[in-house]
Symmetry: C2
Subunit: 330 residues, 2 copies
């Protein structure tokens, strides 16, 4: 097995985020599930877009955010995800290239437009997402470049990819190829409702196919259907080579075999928007591991990136994560 | 080795607490170290007693509180500690007998009076203690009943016992006797300043003589002279059979070999006074272990007792811990 030429290849939904400040009343009147990502259709996306204003458009998507974060840390990242050949597709491509991520997935020329996610940020800094998957449903196994997968130390998959049916095949193809090349497979559970939608599949993935699992407290408890965090912690220890469990203001817990580390949360002056916190954490931890750091230090890097992420609006940062880590860790 | 007839024998300073509400200004003007236990002499104790008012007197002392808590849970506990043959000594004896603890240490008839600790509770619920050790300095190896030690599943020692010189000998005699009888030895580090006063000794104790170690976050970090909690956690894992690390509102972490459990803090409606929280936690955990519970459940019992303790003024509770645990754990 040769040395990998890519640190992390991320496969996920290629989405343009539309950020909107919203109050709780709007969520209630629209019947939205606060804190969750809900899938909507094109008409509903259009209606919501017209109903809200002051929107900021930016390149998003969970795995794409993580790869962008990895690039900001100085890691070498590739993203695979499907956009349409339209204006939003261009926004996505330009943004992700600008941050130094390799992104070559062919856009669709027919079918639905580029995916968008209305991210409604409430005054408590929580985000509620209404996502129109658009062109993402056209990602399929043919978009997976087996040589690229074999060249990457870690293949990172977002749980949301389990929503569009053809993408699931791409997901499994990539995971198999990574393992055949002696590489690692990482999965983020994405959100508790996503875990609920695909419960049996995710349990099977965690137990048999994933080396590095990312989950927040609610997601891991949903996965193992347990009432307290510690029970989930004990369950996951026997399943994954590495599990990184994020707990918001309680920091994170990272486990690997006999290793169990408790990583306190970084101090955050003003909590603005939690969008992308998990993605930024994954970026930091994966960067740490692929740059040869120990697990605890890698998780600390994850925590520092997450703290930066939640201090401003939107999932991506203007700050160089690399400079930030050098400042914090020396 | 026969079955133990006593769950826990606690050896510590026999102290009557004098609880006083105080503001931060008083602490500053008196040059007191907030949150710490400071040793004072008889004159200073008298002066402080006269300066403050509205005092509540109650039986206290760290290990004594723990054994009282154990009895309240339905465990069988013995306390060993020295009072003088005076009114405060009677207060101590009556209180500890009333809760069902065996206590037969002979009182002194000459020398200093019974120990008192002025516990100054500030509006932030923190306690600052000014302790006059009094008769406690006369506890010695002759007060240790070797048969009783051999009859107890766990011999529990408070770190504060390291302050009066003769008590230290009693401490070591008891620990040796417990191990010779095939029993366990447990130590609570008491407070970070106490750890600082006896740093080398405590490190040696933790590494070589203690099976079950109790420490809060600050104490364990002081013991291992590290900057973050996780480093202390990793260090203690290799030293003690069981370590229980309390973290205030972050709950506790309990470790034993490969086992690592994260125990979230119980919800506390109103934080009144943290005096005795660590003692109550130790009571719950030791009760859990001696009644055959697993480590996680034992730590949860500790957390429930600690939460009850900090919801009222003073280290001891009027509530039956036993009823509380039955209500919470079923």
């Amino acid at each position: 097995m040769s040395d990998p030429r890519i640190d992390v290849i991320g496969i996920g939904n290629a989405i343009v985020d539309i950020l909107v400040h919203a109050d709780d009343d709007l969520l209630v009147s629209e019947g939205m599930t606060k804190g969750a990502m809900t899938l909507i259709d094109a008409d509903e996306a259009k209606r919501l877009y017209e109903k809200t204003d002051g929107a900021i458009e930016c390149s998003g998507g969970s795995a794409a955010n993580t790869i962008a974060g990895l690039a900001s840390l100085g890691g070498s990242g590739v993203f695979v995800g499907k956009v349409h050949n339209d204006r939003m597709g261009e926004v996505f491509r330009n943004d992700i290239h600008a941050i130094g991520v390799s992104y070559d997935t062919l856009p669709t020329v027919s079918g639905p437009p580029t995916a968008t996610s209305m991210v409604l940020v409430t005054p408590d800094a929580k985000r509620t997402m209404q996502t129109f998957l658009g062109a993402c449903v056209d990602l399929g196994p043919e978009d997976i470049d087996l040589e690229q997968i074999a060249d990457a130390e870690i293949t990172y998959l977002e749980g949301y990819l389990w929503d569009p049916p053809a993408a699931k095949e791409a997901f499994l193809k990539a995971a198999d190829a990574a393992h055949q090349a002696g590489r690692k497979v990482s999965l983020s559970l994405s959100d508790p409702f996503c875990v609920d939608r695909h419960h049996e599949d995710f349990l099977d993935l965690a137990e048999h196919h994933v080396d590095i699992l990312f989950a927040n407290e609610e997601e891991i408890m949903t996965l193992y259907q347990v009432e307290n965090f510690n029970d989930a912690l004990q369950a996951v220890r026997s399943h994954c080579e590495v599990a990184a469990l994020t707990r918001s203001e309680k920091g994170s817990v990272v486990v690997s075999g006999d290793e169990v580390h408790i990583v306190d949360a970084e101090v955050v002056d003003t909590l603005v928007d939690t969008t992308g916190a998990g993605d930024a954490y994954a970026a930091g931890l994966l960067f740490g591991l692929t740059s040869g750091r120990d697990l605890f230090t890698s998780a600390r890097i994850g925590g520092i990136c997450a703290a930066e992420c939640i201090s401003h609006l939107g999932a991506r940062s203007n700050v160089s994560f690399k400079a930030l880590i050098e400042e914090k860790l020396g």
